[in-house]
Each structure stands twice: as structure tokens, then as C-alpha cells.
């Protein structure tokens, strides 16, 4: 598996300045959460660093690129091109950087979530949503929730995300609803 120091400059070169600032925010937050929940620091850093590795592939190339590297897309992903970057990124992390399956899944599900997520998956999902440069979800009470009760924070962010997609009349990935229902303890 690739080392964090070796991947750092590669990711910095691939991503725009704005995206890399976001990525650094995710790394910082993921380290905080990882320490609380006892996850391996190097693993957490590597996944956080590379979670958006495929985010800036031009939209018109995404579907073809996914096809080229053997990533299957579902109906929603074919029309909501935003979602593709997670699956494509996961494939790159597996093939090029030698990530373990758990690390690959943390990249793969960082946008939609899914039911019964591993601790690493939850840490990356929440770090992405709550990093300091985010407008709403970086608020102190959300970060504190993530530190105290990670499943409750998952529910909060999933609910917030679905509400946001609805407001914008955007399609909603089934995995996000499955995750929302799973973390909904009502």
C-alpha cells in the first residue's frame, strides 16, 4: 500500500486548490474522530486524503471513464454524475494505491452512506460532511454530536442531506435512504 507522504503530493497535484483545502479539512476532522473511536491514524489519513481523488474528472468524461476502469453504474449514477466520483475513486484507491477492502468501502460510500457502516466508513462520511470549511454541518453542535454518538450524527447528516436534495429537486440515491432508515432509531 502507498504511503501517506508519497500520496500527499500526488493528490495535491491532481486536485484544484479549493478541493485540496477541503481535503485537508477532512483529514483534520477524520484524525479527531479516529482518535476518539480508536481507528488506526495512518489508515484514517490515507482514506481522508484520497476520498475525492476522482471528483474533478470532467463531468462529460465520468461515465466513459467509469466504464473504462470497469466500474458499474446504477440508474441514478448515470444521471446524477456527482455520485460517480465515489465509486470511481474507490476503484483507483484499490487498483493504484493498494487500499484494503475496508478503506476502499470508506471511499465508495462517503457520499451516499449505506446501512451498517464500519467505523472507518462513518468517520470518513462524517469528516467529509463536518470539516471546518463546510457551511452548515461544521457547526460545533454537529461535530460534538459526531464525537459523542457517531450513529446519531450519521442520522442527523443523512436527514439533512435528503432534505437538501429534496429542496433542490435532485434525485436521491437508494443507499442514502437505506442508510437513513438504518440509523433512524425511531
Amino acid at each position: 500500500m502507498i504511503k501517506y507522504e508519497d500520496l500527499y503530493n500526488e493528490v495535491k497535484n491532481i486536485l484544484s486548490e479549493k478541493r485540496f483545502i477541503h481535503t485537508e479539512g477532512v483529514i483534520e476532522r477524520a484524525i479527531e474522530y479516529g482518535e476518539i473511536y480508536g481507528e488506526d491514524k495512518e489508515t484514517v489519513k490515507l482514506v481522508a486524503l484520497s476520498h475525492d481523488i476522482a471528483k474533478e474528472i470532467p463531468k462529460q468524461e465520468r461515465v466513459n471513464y467509469a466504464k473504462d476502469i470497469g466500474v458499474e453504474l446504477d440508474e441514478i449514477e448515470k444521471t446524477n454524475l456527482e455520485l460517480i466520483h465515489s465509486k470511481v475513486g474507490a476503484k483507483i484507491c484499490k487498483d493504484k494505491y493498494g487500499f484494503s477492502d475496508e478503506m476502499v468501502n470508506a471511499v465508495k460510500y462517503h457520499t451516499t452512506g449505506r446501512s451498517n457502516m464500519s467505523m472507518l466508513e462513518k468517520i470518513i462520511y462524517l469528516a467529509d460532511a463536518t470539516e471546518k470549511n463546510r457551511n452548515y454541518c461544521s457547526q460545533e453542535f454537529v461535530v460534538e454530536m459526531a464525537k459523542k454518538n457517531i450513529d446519531e450524527a450519521m442520522f442527523f447528516i443523512l436527514k439533512w442531506t435528503i432534505g437538501n436534495l429534496l429542496e433542490q429537486n435532485k434525485k436521491i440515491h437508494i443507499d442514502t435512504i437505506i442508510a437513513y432508515n438504518y440509523y433512524n432509531k425511531k
Copy 2:
């Protein structure tokens, strides 16, 4: 198949007064929509009359009742007992009243919706949501939307329903999201 006149008193006896007032509102609205979209009036009336036939089976009996008559429930239906009445009602309409498959499906999907609904399914779904005794969705602009562009009205009600479930922290049935994505032309 049972005749409307014969079923009318049976449904009136089964349902509470409040529920039967709702049912009469659904029949009225379904006839309006059915005329516009060229559906058979007797069929529309029969389905509207019986759509909530299983709604007042006591909650604690619903799961067992479903099992007894051979209705399979998914994970969400097992915890959200509200949803069970549509599947159970559909089975009663098939076995006891001799409804056709299309009529059975209009009862079955009147709560969640699904993708690619038949005209009859959409008429019952929308009549249920927009009958005159409903608080919000009976507003004139929603009824007019249903009369002018039935797929647009489907999207409006599905979106409104998901928002409502979210607000109440309730679980969301996957069929509702599949329907929302399907009727979302964005």
C-alpha cells in the same frame, strides 16, 4: 367481480365514520381525474371505495394478519405498521372482491407509489392525497396540477410526502424514493 353498490355498504360498515368520509372524498376526486384521463368509471369507483379497506385493522394485529393471508412484508413495513394496510388491502381486494391485477396494484401502491405507475394507480394515489378533506394537498393548485399534468402532480406529492416523513423522523419506503426519482424530470 363485486359490484360497487354491493361493496359500498360493506365498506361503510367496516370503516369508522371519519375514514369513510375520507373514502367518499377519494371516490369523488378519483371520478374527476378518471373522467379527464379516460379511465373506466366503475373501475375507478371500486378501487377508490376499497383503497383503505385494511386501514383500521388494529396495529398490533396487522403483522399477524398479513402473515395469515400470505402477505410478505419487507423490513420497513415490519416496523412502519402504517404501510401494511396497502398490501393487506390489495390481497383482500384480489381474494374477496375479485379485482383485476391493475386494480389490485392501484390499492397496493396507493401509499408508497412506485416507478412507471399505470394511469389507474396514479389516479388513486393522487385522489387519496388531494381529496377535499385533506389539509394541504387538497388546495386548488394541486388539484389543478393533477388535472393538467398527472406526472408533475405525482412528483409534487411524492416530494411533499418525503419532506413530511423527514420532518417527523419517520422511515421512508424505498418505493417512494424510486417513484420520486422516476417522476423527477430534472
